[in-house]
């Protein structure tokens, strides 16, 4: 079971209301994608692709309110829970299944290496 989950570190490393980034590299060390791991004010954790569906803004740098992040570039609101753009905007970012266990954060391995839009099985 645990083998399916990738330990990315202690939950303590993310302050409530902020996000940290997790680059994913390929075999040659080139970055293929970046995941943003959020902790809401309430203490819930979410992982989504660090790329705004509008013009690729780094969502990790937005203001977090409720379970929504406002993109730092043009203020689109993205639901951390579903990855969907809210309000009148249309678009969606991939979400990555995350769980917290004994104070550590785990991402679903297959969703991490599955690149971009769909999480393929490892």
């Amino acid at each position: 079971m645990i083998g399916d989950w990738l330990d990315i570190g202690s939950a303590q490393q993310i302050e409530a209301g902020t996000a940290r980034t997790l680059p994913v590299e390929d075999a040659s060390g080139a970055k293929v994608r970046e995941i943003a791991v959020f902790r809401t004010m309430r203490g819930e954790f979410f992982a989504i692709e660090n790329t705004c569906p509008h013009r690729q803004g780094p969502l990790s740098q937005g203001i977090v309110h409720g379970d929504v992040v406002t993109c730092p570039l043009h203020n689109w609101n993205i639901s951390l829970r579903t990855g969907m753009a809210l309000g009148g905007d249309e678009g969606c970012v991939p979400t990555i299944p995350l769980r917290v266990d004994a104070g550590r954060l785990y991402l679903l391995r297959s969703a991490v290496i599955g690149s971009g839009n769909q999480a393929e099985a490892a």
Binding site: I8, G9, A16, V24, I63, H65, P72, R81, G103, I113
Partner: protein
């Protein structure tokens, strides 16, 4: 119930052995006896050396509100009367499924036909050094309470680790017993599983006012001790808290060891079906030790349901258990708190969104939030007034359609029940004329209505004539209802509110922050009845600025409420990299600075360097991870942050002036440098640009700046509210002064007036157009105004002029710059 009456004459009874003489185990036996008293011969093993008692009442026992005798549920007579053998103080160590026997620590072996495991849970002990010291206790059974009482007898300091239900009840009890209590909680919000941030804040404030110290976001590193006895607790951040007793209340784990060793299916808890049967048909299990449909429970209400289903099943009338929705109350006297269901706001299985209905009443310390999804209540958090808790919980459990009472739902059952009253306007219409509408100002419904009839046709007009809803604002909804009832459709819409989270305007919010001395964002949200739990991307930065401006010496900047550029102290670019602009005072530079900039450009491979319109050098394409190192290099050459990224003083642009220029009338460069030294680092409602030109030829373009100085032979012309942006606006002349000192003072005073009165994100040009140039002139012409505002600005600057780059370069908030880890798929491992 007397066993002899219900016995089955002659028939050999089945043997039921129960492991665990606690709340669930005994309740299950009671339920069985009630259905079929003669069916089983019952033996109960209990590790605790006593009869079954109401565990949840241990908190009142600790607090001195109850004695142990008062919380006993099953007396020894009960066991005797029902023919139950109680083996207390003897822990079962082994289950032999093949031979259907259990073996206890004493060696006692008992055969069974049916076995019931009701072992409850064990407190979780965080694995830190010192956890085994004498004086470190948990809060689970009567022995723990006795240990706490013994410690409390000696007085001193208690540290409770864990700010959940148990921890806070322990803290309350110890503090009533005279100990000085500190609660250490890992999460930012107390009871975060039951409360949202707003309610958690209220709870924290209340507990602090009772003398407890509450440390949230605090991580325990070590329990300190001397000669085997606890002496204190050390936090991750280096804080040391003295302690004579440490209570660990960080959570519970289902007690599954025995079941696991016996080979039963166990995940987090012992797996059971809807009839509480484990993977072995002869073995049942109930209580906190089980996992049913993926869930483990830590409250008693679900256990009662489980026990009912279990008894129905073993007496051959199976009904089944379908899982429970739980609700929580905190048993701390004087604190009313209720939480039920899901308040996470997660959309339903078919993507149906959640809607929050929030009501706050600051004067009475009340916060209510009901979460509705697809016309059904899915959660509720109540603080201060929990009278309607059970009603919401009932609506929730029954999944009732609330669309008819939606509008009045938050006012509670009294308002919402009955179709006619479901419309809040109707509810207000039904109020008597002398019903009080505004509690703060004592205004009745009759008074509000006559004030509306006398011509106050908007909320604002009502507020200023009869004062209703002019103070805390919690009756705004009622006044609005009265307006629409009295006027029909003619209500004039009020001024624009700060954002959709509040009914207050920017000016209201700024005034109330000062009047009520509000000093924290959650406090503003509570006191001013924010309709969202933690605001939005519009109000959070605005509140952060308003608080910073109001309390420069006290307010601790909230980085989470800052736009990315101000948090990262650099300008984000469209590709997610940053541009870095070091300060060059008045646009002056020197070889050392230029060399340092050139070195940074080469070292970090910056793709572009550009001279800005504000006479600075802008280095592009720096990655967030490299920012601290870049700043360290620039700091080393004596340069500080240029704040090119902030709603703050940006640049003071100068011309060469009388030093070099043949037309120059004054030392414009020198004055520009002085102004920049005075104003740098100040946060403003919006970005703020200054320029100083040495003569009316105006080479520094001072007449399109927020503040511009044009030097003339006889002194300095001071201009305000220019803008070179989307809409070009030339400045207005504010005044003319004779000396540099006067120019500096007027500049400081004007900035302070703007800082104190403009709306967040309003530049000087629209602000001056909104309030009028004359207004600004009048304000600054008041007796002593220049000196007072200038002094206020300079005072605030004492706290602002601290290079943010230097602190980051030294490692402050490195989390903002570093990745949490990196994933290398080759190894599929993370590297920190």
């Amino acid at each position: 119930m007397n066993f002899a009456n219900g016995g089955l004459p002659g028939g050999k009874r089945e043997k039921l052995v129960v492991i665990g003489n606690g709340m669930a185990g005994c309740r299950a036996v009671e339920e069985i006896l009630a259905r079929d008293p003669g069916r089983f011969e019952v033996t109960i093993f209990g590790a605790e050396p006593r009869v079954n008692y109401n565990r949840i009442m241990l908190s009142p026992v600790l607090a001195g509100e109850k004695t142990f005798d008062e919380i006993v549920i099953n007396t020894s007579e009960w066991y005797a009367d029902n023919g139950i053998t109680l083996v207390s103080g003897d822990r079962v160590d082994h289950i032999d499924r093949a031979n259907q026997t259990v073996v206890a620590a004493s060696g006692r072996t008992e055969p069974y036909d049916k076995l019931l495991i009701a072992t409850g849970s064990e407190p979780f002990i965080i694995p830190v050094p010192g956890k085994d010291l004498e004086g470190v206790v948990t809060f689970r059974d009567l022995d723990d309470v006795d240990r706490m009482l013994a410690a409390a007898d000696k007085g001193g300091n208690a540290v409770v680790i864990g700010g959940g239900l148990l921890g806070l009840e322990a803290a309350h009890g110890l503090s009533l017993r005279g100990m000085k209590v500190t609660v250490i909680h890992l999460m930012p919000t107390l009871m975060e599983r039951q409360l949202d941030e707003a309610a958690g804040y209220l709870l924290k404030t209340e507990l602090e006012s009772r003398g407890q110290t509450i440390l949230t976001g605090a991580n325990t590193k070590e329990v300190l001790g001397k000669q085997g006895k606890v002496t204190g607790v050390l936090l991750e951040d280096g804080t040391e808290i003295p302690a004579d007793i440490v209570v660990m209340a960080v959570g519970i784990r289902p007690s599954t060891g025995l079941a696991k060793a016996a080979g039963l299916d166990v995940e987090r808890g012992i797996l059971v079906d809807d009839h509480m049967v484990t993977s072995d048909p002869a073995i049942l299990s109930v209580g906190e030790c089980v996992q049913h449909r993926g869930l483990c429970y830590g409250l008693v209400a679900p256990l009662w349901e489980m026990c009912r289903a279990l008894a129905d099943h073993v007496t051959d009338r199976p009904t089944g258990y379908a899982g429970s929705v739980t609700s929580t109350k905190l048993k701390v006297s004087g604190i009313d708190l209720f939480s039920a269901g899901d308040f996470s706001g997660a959309p339903g299985p078919d993507g149906e969104p959640c809607e929050d209905i929030v009501m706050r009443d600051a004067s009475r310390g009340i916060y209510k939030r009901v979460i509705v999804q697809g016309n059904k209540v899915v959660g509720a958090v109540l603080y201060g007034d929990t009278a309607d808790g059970s009603w919401y919980f009932d609506l929730l459990k029954k999944g009732e359609d609330v669309s008819d009472i939606r509008e009045a739902l938050i006012f509670g059952q009294a308002f919402a029940s009955g179709g006619a009253l479901a419309d809040p306007n109707a509810a207000v219409a039904a109020l008597s004329d002398d019903a009080e509408i505004c509690g703060c100002n004592g205004v009745s419904k009759g008074q509000v209505v006559s004030c509306i009839n006398d011509g106050s046709h908007s909320l604002d007009a009502v507020r200023s004539t009869c004062k209703a809803s002019a103070s805390c604002g919690s009756c705004t909804g009622l006044v609005e209802s009265l307006l629409s009832l009295t006027l029909g459709g003619e209500v004039e819409s009020g001024p624009k509110t700060l954002c959709k989270c509040t009914s207050f305007t920017h000016d209201d919010v700024r005034a109330l922050i000062l009047e009520k001395e509000l000093k924290l964002i959650p406090q503003v949200m509570q006191e001013l009845h924010w309709s969202t739990p933690d605001g939005c991307a519009s109000c959070r930065p605005a509140l952060n600025y308003y608080l910073l401006c109001a309390w420069p010496d006290e307010y601790e900047d909230d980085q989470k409420s800052r736009f990315v550029n101000e948090r990262m102290h650099a300008n984000i670019q469209k590709d997610g990299t940053y541009s870095v602009v070091p300060r060059m005072w008045g646009g002056l530079t020197n070889p050392r600075e230029l060399r340092a900039i050139a070195d940074v450009v080469e070292k970090y491979d910056a793709p572009m360097v550009k001279v800005t319109g504000g006479q600075r050098l802008d280095i592009f394409g720096i990655k967030k991870e490299d920012l601290p190192a870049v700043w360290a290099d620039l700091n080393a050459a004596g340069m500080v942050s240029g704040h090119a990224y902030g709603k703050s003083l940006r640049t003071v642009k100068t011309c060469v002036g009388s030093e070099w220029c043949r037309f120059g009338t004054q030392d414009s460069t020198g004055l520009g440098v002085q102004i920049e030294r005075m104003t740098w680092g100040s946060w403003m409602p919006h970005k703020f640009k200054i320029a100083v030109s040495g003569c009316p030829r105006n080479c520094a373009e001072a007449t399109i700046k927020d503040f511009g100085v044009v030097c003339v032979d006889s002194g300095y012309e001071l201009h305000i509210a220019g803008n070179g942006g989307i809409k070009v606006r030339a400045t207005d002349l504010l005044c003319k002064v004779e000396t540099e000192q006067e120019a500096l003072d007027v500049c400081a005073a004007f900035i302070q007036l703007y800082r104190e009165e403009a709306h967040y994100l309003e530049r000087t040009a629209p602000w001056v157009e909104r309030v009028g140039l004359q207004y600004v002139k009048d304000r600054l012409a008041e007796d002593g105004a220049i000196a007072t505002y200038a002094a206020a600005f300079r005072y605030s600057q004492q706290f602002m002029q601290d290079d943010p780059w230097a602190r980051r370069a030294e490692g402050e908030r490195s989390d903002l710059h570093q990745h949490i880890a990196t994933v290398r798929p080759m190894e599929m491992e993370t590297v920190s």
